[in-house]
Amino acid sequence: MLITSGRELIKKAMHLEQNDRTPWVPFVGVHGGKLLGVDATTYLKSGDHIFNGVTKAIEIYDPDGIPVLFDLQVEAEVLGCDLMWANDNPPSVASHPLNEGKKLEELKIPTLEDGRIGMIMETTRRLREAHPDTALYGLITGPFTLALHLLGTDVFIKMLEEEEYVHRVMEFGKQVSMFMAEEYIKNGCDVIALVDPMTSQISPEQFRQFVTGPATEIFDFIREKGALSSFFVCGYAQQNIEAMCECRPDNVSIDENIPLDYVREVALPMGVSFGGNMKLTVVLLMGTPEECQVHALECMDQAGEKGFILAPGCDLPMDTPPENLKAVTQLVHDDYQREVIRTLMENQPEEEKLPDMSEYGQTDKVIVDIITLASESCAPCKYMVDAVKNVAPEFEGILEWREHSIKKMEAVNFMNALMVRSLPTICIDGKIAFTSKIPPRSELIQAIQNRINEKLKLKLSQKRPEMLLFTTDKEEEEKLHEVVSEAISELGADVDIRHITDQKIIRSYGVHKTPAVMTVSYKMKSQGRLPSVDVVREWVKEVM
């Protein structure tokens, strides 16, 4: 089979071509610093750190595309905005030169010598060489966001009062964007993302009045230079999606505030691919890996396959747990995992029906439960079941195994009661023993044997033996007592003797002739609680 590189997948998605699977682009910005253990400021100022952080992210998240850098203050810094640096965020803009006496005419288009630009482009080139199969995204500040950096929130008033001036600021921003785009493309970026989050703050009319012109020129320029383009926005920008697509980017990328199906319906007919919109805070930062997988699948379902790129809504929070992103990668790459999550989404456990498993595994036999999607239709499940099937004969009579396919509701409840989180899983006597990985025969045998040994020990210490002596007259009773006592004391065993002399009771034990002897061993199965029927059923089988 021909393996398509991530870079190819991104290209195909952006060209609205049929793809093998949904491409995934984690927007690793300062999160790269987290992966290296350095703070955001140190990270963003060092080409080596950025190179190592992105490289590390490529290693552990196996993305199809990744940004070189996610910092929308690079251009502003060069143009004279003061930056306020932070330990766990990109810096923010703390002063607005055009609002503080600087003239627009005095601002110069940046060069490679200015600020961090040279370092960033050099890093891009190194990343390109090191990761030929991953699509590299070069993120540039959109002209409207740059205008806000330069002017402060006065830009909103000026849009009403000094339109011409705002147009000129936007024109300047366009030239800055083109310079940055060209440098990123020269150094190997596949996709130029024009990131203009502040456009979420304006109406479609204002968007078309001020943003459409410069943005369209930027996207045409990127196309001319042979690269792909994306228009990034975040926040409440739903009203502007159509206007964004009119600017002819290859892709638009949005955050959780806009429904993916809405974007699909607007963008695809206009020939624009789209991406997003995983929730950054509630899911990726604060959620569990399972929640991230469920959410990623929901995004993929809402978006459909054509022209869709799965991505977070915006720059990943620095402290996003790597496990969460790895879980998304696993979901994207693994059909089986998607099928598992989809089945579990459809079959939610019924809390009121969760069986009480506290006494599970107290039977004489060892119970092996295999929780699967369905072994008849999925390969990993089948291997897991076969592994157990193959060792079962070794434990004939003392092992019982069964498969629980989560396509059935009771299996979902059972799985939840055993706290199983991923599939397929082997549980031995109700305890999770092997998850996802098919155990080698010897390991499985060892695990079962360990459990048998454990049970044997437990059994020896738990059993309470008793001997019942059935007699009908005094003489018979004394003689029998003597024989039995002798045997017990010879063995030094701790066995109780009980005499039963009432004829009615004797008959109730099925004894027809005396003297008769019966041995009994008692075993505590549960106390202080009402056991569930499932559990008692196993105990009954044991004594049948």
């Binding site: 965020n89 990109p90 929130t153 703050q201 926040g235 009203q239 805070t281």
Partner: protein
């Protein structure tokens, strides 16, 4: 441990948020330990310094300067707020959200596992500038969103707006049919003893006379959750969901996207639910619920379970 009520004041740039803040401090400082949170996207960026010059007694936390317009940049907020609370033990917290901030994004951050046990979102004031209301029509996107989430809308600077307020109020009502509306000058809203808040949380807040201090909350379980989703729900399923959540909540409010593409505004207070059609909107479903039995996970989980039900 009792939870700290968290208030948000939001509104137009230059609408009077900082003036409101001063009024708030003037009314309550000395009675409560007040923690004020500001982000510095405010124009001129003098707010923090200006506030510090006030005589009032309060502690100030300045967050993430300039970046709170974006959900993604709120993550250090948790950490700084937590340490701020640990250091000053405020009775109440007031966030002056920048004109570009998204209160729902803030509410979502408050429901994270670290902050949820410490505080709950109690009340949102949105300040509308009477003088500039019509002029700012073109910035409606932002204004509308802030109005939608308000518990109380303050129409400020009415002295500079001699015309009748009816058209302004009418417009505000189409965005938020439920919020209280108060016309004021110099952002002097009615704040006496936070009576208006008591109405909503009858058992939650009461004043301890002897210490002239808040007794912030004696219901440690009280929590606020914010649900944001782009998935629609049927009217019937929404009503069933709200009915199930009612006994657990003091208040549920928000705007919900229905499966026919239209929106409905919901307000439930102490067992009474009201629905108002809100037409077609360009936004996701946003619900805020406050109550003793509310947890972020259960609220969201149940919403989605109802959403997926047939019919």
């Amino acid at each position: 441990m009792s939870k700290i009520p968290f208030y948000i004041v939001t509104g137009f740039l230059g609408g009077g948020k900082t003036t409101f803040l001063k009024h708030f401090l003037h009314t309550f400082s000395g009675r409560y330990r007040i923690g004020v949170i500001q982000n510095e996207f405010a124009p001129g960026q003098v707010d923090g310094a200006e506030l510090r010059r006030e005589e009032e007694d309060f502690e100030l936390l300045e967050i993430n300067k300039g970046s709170a317009f974006c959900v993604c940049l709120l993550n250090d907020f948790t950490r700084s707020l937590k340490s701020f609370i640990g250091k000053y033990c405020p009775d109440i917290l007031l966030l002056e959200a920048s004109g570009l901030a998204d209160p729902i994004a803030v509410a979502e951050v408050l429901q994270g596992s670290e902050l949820f046990p410490l505080l709950y979102l109690s009340y949102i004031w949105t300040i509308v500038d009477a003088e500039n209301f019509e002029k700012t029509d073109s910035m409606i996107t932002r204004v509308e969103r802030q109005v939608r989430v308000a518990d109380k809308i303050l129409i400020n600077k009415t002295d500079k707006h001699p015309a009748p307020l009816d058209p302004v109020i009418k417009k505000l009502r189409t965005w938020n049919p439920f919020a209280a509306i108060e016309a004021v000058t110099f952002a002097r809203a009615t704040l006496d003893n936070l009576d208006e808040l008591k109405e909503h949380e009858p058992h939650a807040i009461k004043k301890k006379e002897e210490h002239r201090r808040f007794e912030p909350l004696n219901k440690p379980g009280t929590g606020t959750v914010a649900l944001k989703t782009t998935w629609p729900i049927s009217r019937q399923n929404l009503e069933n969901f709200i009915r199930e959540m009612l006994p657990l909540s003091y208040r549920i409010k928000g705007t919900v996207k229905l499966d026919d593409g239209t929106f409905v505004s919901v307000q439930a207070v102490m067992g009474e639910v009201e629905y108002r059609e809100a037409g077609k909107l360009m936004q996701p479903t946003e619900l805020i619920a406050i109550g003793p039995g509310i947890t972020p996970k259960s609220f969201g989980k149940r919403f989605h379970e109802y959403r997926k039900k047939g019919g």
